[in-house]
């Protein structure tokens, strides 16, 4: 997606903060960040990584360097299987002028050989936010892959597509003070802002987001 289009759509949708979380890749972040800076949109650096259990985990960082460090680690843990462009489409990095900077040849839909625990620990020890994606999805979700969410993994929140159904998942969540959030998981410009989470932040950075999520988890308790 074009950074200008992403930023334009996000502003149109009234969003203040977005994160770029391509699958197992973060290199598009700097260009979207640059485009965002021109119009006051905060863009966090991130990735939706796929662990060896085939769980999708969102990692978000303030700075691109940490996200890029994660990408380097993840690349080493991905199988050396080339992308089939015909079937899966391009895996490209696009700059603010909509020029393709580079194309990634390695297939990014694969799983990285890292456990959900180790991936989450890495993210947390590098100042990031760790949130398992679409826990209500029948595929690639922590519940579809592991049956339940263990209490001892230090997630910041759980992302759910349909927050109104969160109650149905409570029996499968061992830690009861984790807040639910929902994101658009936008794969196309038209999806940007379709789902969103409202947080009150002192400043739009990971530290403040982490605090706001912790507060939200304590306040809300399990949804009924």
């Amino acid at each position: 997606m074009s950074p200008r289009v992403i930023v334009g759509k996000a502003r149109e949708a009234g969003l203040d903060v977005i994160a770029v979380t391509d699958h197992n890749m973060t290199e598009n972040t700097p260009y979207v960040k640059e485009a965002g800076e021109r119009c006051g949109l905060v863009v966090l650096a991130g990735m939706e990584l796929q662990t060896r259990e085939e769980i999708h985990l969102i990692a978000v960082f303030d700075d691109y360097d940490s996200a890029y460090e994660l990408q380097l680690m993840i690349y080493d843990l991905l199988p050396a299987v080339p992308n089939d462009v015909e079937f899966w489409g391009d895996q490209v990095v696009v700059d603010t002028q909509d020029t393709i900077v580079r194309s990634e040849d390695r297939l990014l839909i694969s799983s990285a050989q890292i456990s959900i625990e180790d991936a989450t620990s890495w993210i947390k020890s590098h100042g990031g936010i760790a949130i398992p994606s679409h826990i209500d999805s029948p595929t690639f979700s922590i519940i579809s892959q592991l049956g339940f969410i263990p209490a001892d993994i230090p997630f910041d929140a759980l992302e759910i597509r349909n927050p109104e159904n969160a109650g149905a998942f409570m029996p499968f969540i061992m830690r009861k003070d984790l807040p639910f959030v929902t994101f658009s998981d936008a794969h196309y410009p038209g999806d940007i802002g379709k789902r969103r989470t409202v947080l009150t932040l002192g400043a739009p950075d990971c530290g403040n987001i982490e605090d706001a999520l912790r507060f939200m988890g304590r306040q809300a308790g399990p949804p009924s």
Partner: protein, 112 residues
């Protein structure tokens, strides 16, 4: 056939000492989706999977699985083995793939 006999005849590594070595094995099930195993694994069946998260032990316990068989010499964490022993589940490991292990085990069990 017992878990111990199966491990012996197929040359599988036994990672949990004498846990369940005397338990009877009547069939097997190969799957990496926990919900599928819960729904479909039979009685006294060994479970062949590449999943190595500690949560699989909960499923094995629930379905009274005598042994989990890990293919391709995949690495296991120490905590996983300790927990398996606590829960009375044998962990065996082979160098062959899940496909090959399933075939070998099938043949052994059919032979009786």
């Amino acid at each position: 056939m017992t878990v111990g006999e199966l491990a012996g005849v197929l040359g599988l590594e036994v990672l949990t000492g004498d846990t369940n070595l005397d338990r009877e094995v009547r069939s097997g099930y190969t799957s990496d989706l926990l919900s599928d195993v819960i729904a479909n694994i039979g009685d006294d069946a060994v479970w062949i999977t590449i999943q190595r998260h500690v949560n699989i032990l909960g499923v094995a316990k629930l379905k009274d699985v005598p042994a989990i068989i890990i293919p391709r010499k995949l690495q296991l964490e120490e905590g996983f083995i300790t927990k398996a022993r606590q829960e009375d589940i044998a962990i065996l490991r082979g160098s062959a793939s899940a496909f090959e292990l399933s075939g070998l085990i099938y043949n052994e069990l059919k032979r009786g």
